[in-house]
Symmetry: none
Subunit: 208 residues, 4 copies
């Protein structure tokens, strides 16, 4: 394994650069930092950057790809066993949303950065980001249509509602990132959001 020592060092350098870039992007956004700032943060030489990456643009894309891999999978699982009652449906939604929220929570600052800076990187990056959010909206719509068909949800424009739900989720995520609701943990916040989704703000209907 004489080779592996060298290889390991390369991977370490690459990781140092990615982590430094991540920190720098979180701290100062995408446009302001120079390559020089990232290599300084990583503690490597200027030329080292170009041994591993072509540009700032490529590095932010790699960071995004690294993070989205595990993200959608949380939600996708849900599609394997569709719930069979309104209550089960709500519970399953809450579980799925909570899992996504927990993953994003561990990378809270990086995710916020992507939502803030991503749309302005360039149009290709913006579209990639939109595509990711669109995947979430599609999943939401798929479940919602299923729920409507089975009478677990009221008939509605599921295309509109699913986009609204994604917007709502992002709104809450960003607010939390800004330090709001610091008295609530992720599950309490998700519970509040799910309540809003399923019941709305309307007064409790007096049953019976």
């Amino acid at each position: 394994m004489a080779e592996s020592k060298q290889e390991e060092r390369k991977r370490a350098t690459r990781r140092k650069l990615l982590e430094a870039a991540s920190r720098v992007f979180v701290e100062r956004g995408y446009h302001a930092p120079l390559i020089a700032d990232m290599v300084a943060e990583a503690g490597v030489g200027q030329g080292t950057f170009y041994r591993y990456f072509d540009s700032k643009r490529q590095i932010i894309e790699i960071l995004l790809d690294d993070i989205v891999g595990g993200l959608l999978s949380q939600f996708v699982e849900m599609s394997e066993s569709l719930p069979d009652s309104a209550e089960a449906y709500r519970e399953a939604s809450e579980q799925a949303i909570l899992r996504v929220a927990e993953v994003m929570d561990t990378q809270q600052e990086l995710c916020s950065m992507f939502l803030r800076e991503g749309p302005s990187v360039d149009s290709a990056f913006a579209e990639k980001l939109d595509g990711i959010l669109a995947r979430f909206a599609e999943l939401a719509r798929f479940f919602l249509d299923h729920a409507i068909t089975n009478g677990f949800a009221r008939p509605c424009r599921s295309d509109v509602v699913s986009q609204a739900l994604v917007g709502m989720a992002l709104g809450l995520f960003e607010s939390r990132g800004r330090g709001l609701f610091s008295d609530l943990d992720a599950s309490a916040l998700v519970a509040e959001g799910v309540a809003l989704i399923f019941q709305g703000i309307g007064p409790e209907t007096v049953e019976g």
Copy 2:
């Protein structure tokens, strides 16, 4: 005749530059365009820019200030006569949201640009933008608290819900900007959103 020919021409040049900048920002975002692109679009000389503005940064701020002035006022009106029933409350909300939507619709592309590019301009601009959205959230929360107090809405974390509502609204606005829901006009879209807010997606409760 307080205004000389000279002054009028200056104002025209200033407007030409602002409109050109607006078009260019909408088309290519904030970071990519050069001062040179904006003066070319405006059809004025390079030096002329600096007679009216200090920087690209200043111009986008002026454009933002121009647009937000009339925006909040639509919503604020509502606070002057608080509704006195759940139904009136819902109707008033729908009216207020619709008016904001209509204002934003007339400047749809510029508003989208601010939401996309604003967070990445610099931290001061991002905070200004956040402040504007926070105003909307505060208004929403004010109405919601009033509604809860009067039993027109179910008790909930109004801070969380109001942020969720703003997120939802932005999600729908941006989706619409991307060409989704093109079969719905603004009022139909707002109606769908308001239904979601008040009822959620849960099945119609069978009353009685």
Copy 3:
């Protein structure tokens, strides 16, 4: 003619840069000088270079084009009236070669630079230069074939001989540039060369 003042200044700047580049290339070759050296020599700012030219590569090509324009024309004239005796043929050759020599003499250093540096600029430039020399060889061959046909010259491989003649001319030109034959003026040198071309080095044939 308010425009023309500006235009004149632009042309002066452009010329300053071309002349500075010419001096710098002559002095230090093509590869060694930096853009920074050329703008320093021209006494203009770094950015000014890029207002007029894309690269060092472009500037040397422009310099070459400027010089070759008038060069071939000297020789081409000759083709309009082909000489009708061996003696006339020799005299016409001498005249034509002398005129080319005189043109090259006025730009001696620049021409030497092209012959020295041109082949190494890049393959496209080398081919361009080869093409120019090939034009001279073609002209020489055309006259030679005419002379052979009319019995003014001995039968020979005119393709070989014409290339040899161009090589000979270049050899003499470069030697002269290096300070050799400084006791001979251009016409004496051309006369010596033409004698070699027509008679070779063989002993004077004893006629009669």
Copy 4:
């Protein structure tokens, strides 16, 4: 067995690098290739280059020295027995030139590369190359002066003529390298050149 396995291997590596450099220079000239290109072509590590050579500059000089050693010797032989008739003189010239041509033919591409790239390497290298050509010119002049003295050649400016002859030879060599005269072998081409040198292009003098 003065030479260990170690030493043998070192010499092999050195030769690999020299041959790789030669191929790369022939293919892409002197300036364009990077050290990295040469070590890749040689199939050795980047650092290995510096165990054997200081710079690209040094390597091209070594390649030149390797090639010129055997070259002049071909011609020098001739000076040992000066010919004693015009005809013998011509035959001896043809033999000598042919031998040089044959040596250069075996390294045709490398020699062309030196003639093309050498003048632009730097002024010291250019002077070295000039010196080599000057040696040929001196030899030519030495024979020519001898011939003139003995009446085997017509009186002329032997300094001029010898430079012209070297130029002619180079012109033919480079043309041949470019694929011209491919129907002629080296000896036929030399014969044509020697005919030109001795007789010129003038019509056959009618003897008697």
